[in-house]
Symmetry: C2
Subunit: 247 residues, 2 copies
Amino acid sequence: MDDPVLLTGSEGRVGSAILGDLGSKYDWRLLDREPPTEEPSHEFFVADITDYDAVREAAEGAGAIVHLAGDPRPEAPWNSVLGNNIDGTHTILQVAADVGVERFVFASSNHAVGAYETEERTPDLYRDHDEFRLDGSELPRPSNLYGVSKAAGEILGRYYHDEFDISVACVRIGNLTEGHPPKDYERGQAMWLSYRDCAHLFDRCLAAEYGYEIVYGISDNDRKYYSIERAREVLGYDPQDNSAHHD
Amino acid sequence: MDDPVLLTGSEGRVGSAILGDLGSKYDWRLLDREPPTEEPSHEFFVADITDYDAVREAAEGAGAIVHLAGDPRPEAPWNSVLGNNIDGTHTILQVAADVGVERFVFASSNHAVGAYETEERTPDLYRDHDEFRLDGSELPRPSNLYGVSKAAGEILGRYYHDEFDISVACVRIGNLTEGHPPKDYERGQAMWLSYRDCAHLFDRCLAAEYGYEIVYGISDNDRKYYSIERAREVLGYDPQDNSAHHD
């Protein structure tokens, strides 16, 4: 990807992980609702993600968009996720179609399928021996309205792929933390995504050939209930970390 | 269902089909955005579906809700489906949870999966010999933003089922017309739903036992690419019409 890549929500945690490892690999344009707290490393646009004109200005000439912007709180109220996440994702996808972006990488979430973690399945679900896997072909089953908004974003991506032939990858991000999750936090260990594996996965989403994909974004944890096989096969994802390997 | 049943969007086409056959079978409360054009047969509430307080007043004491309200146009613009269909469906589901409604029947649409009708598959898809079937377990693939909004409504229903234990049935309605579709309209024949089969299907959704279901709402057409097996098995749907049987 030689063309500029627009990164929305660049000031958040996922943006930090991506820019930490890939800051010099792409010609980034950063976009966030608030001005940067430090001198930005790349061209920076301050815009609300639902402001079509402002977002379009940032996207003109971009070859790809990595869309992270949105209310990241699992407990976010409906009005916030309706506007920031659902309407915001529609806005940036419409911009992508209008300016001719080739690929679109969407930060979806484990909360889009959080209600598969039923009382019957847990805590076995979080343990090595358990063979239950979600692989991205299952219907969404959100655990909160934030998860509803992420599942809606995936469906918007499906529509814009089918209608405008944009390559769309939806990454259901697990639990992104810089350090290993606590040893006694079983769920966190099962869905851990290290910063470097996160950056690598988004790198692959910007390089691989695909049409429309839903993949899980976790490290290669011994404990897991998300399959990373699709990410390996289609994207060439090759994670280096495992929550079981504590220093 | 002895308790009142709230029917939103009662003045539309689906409402006509339901009330035509089931008008005296349930203790209906009707709700629509506009006042009725004729003297209503049942208690009538005029309310916008996104007005929580007004909708709640209509739903107090109801045992079930049949939710048809929304912008029904396949070409409806985003702002309309975002408000009327997505926000509206959230409003009525939250009302359902807050007043303790036991079951919720949602008028979804064939447009939630319209993009499965690819150039490669059509027109064979519409013909008797073709064995491709959608059965409700597949991921949504909308053909327009209206279809996106209906798929989002299904996911909202999934969340309210999981979180509040409301029985939720999503009916992906085909092509509801009073008379048979024209003989040369292959797609219309494949997805035809007669008025009486429509009323019968919603009747079954109000009577059968289930948790969360996505079913297709078409008559027993010779031509079909939607499976009605799930509706038969779980709901006891037994359609009487077939688009191939012209008078």
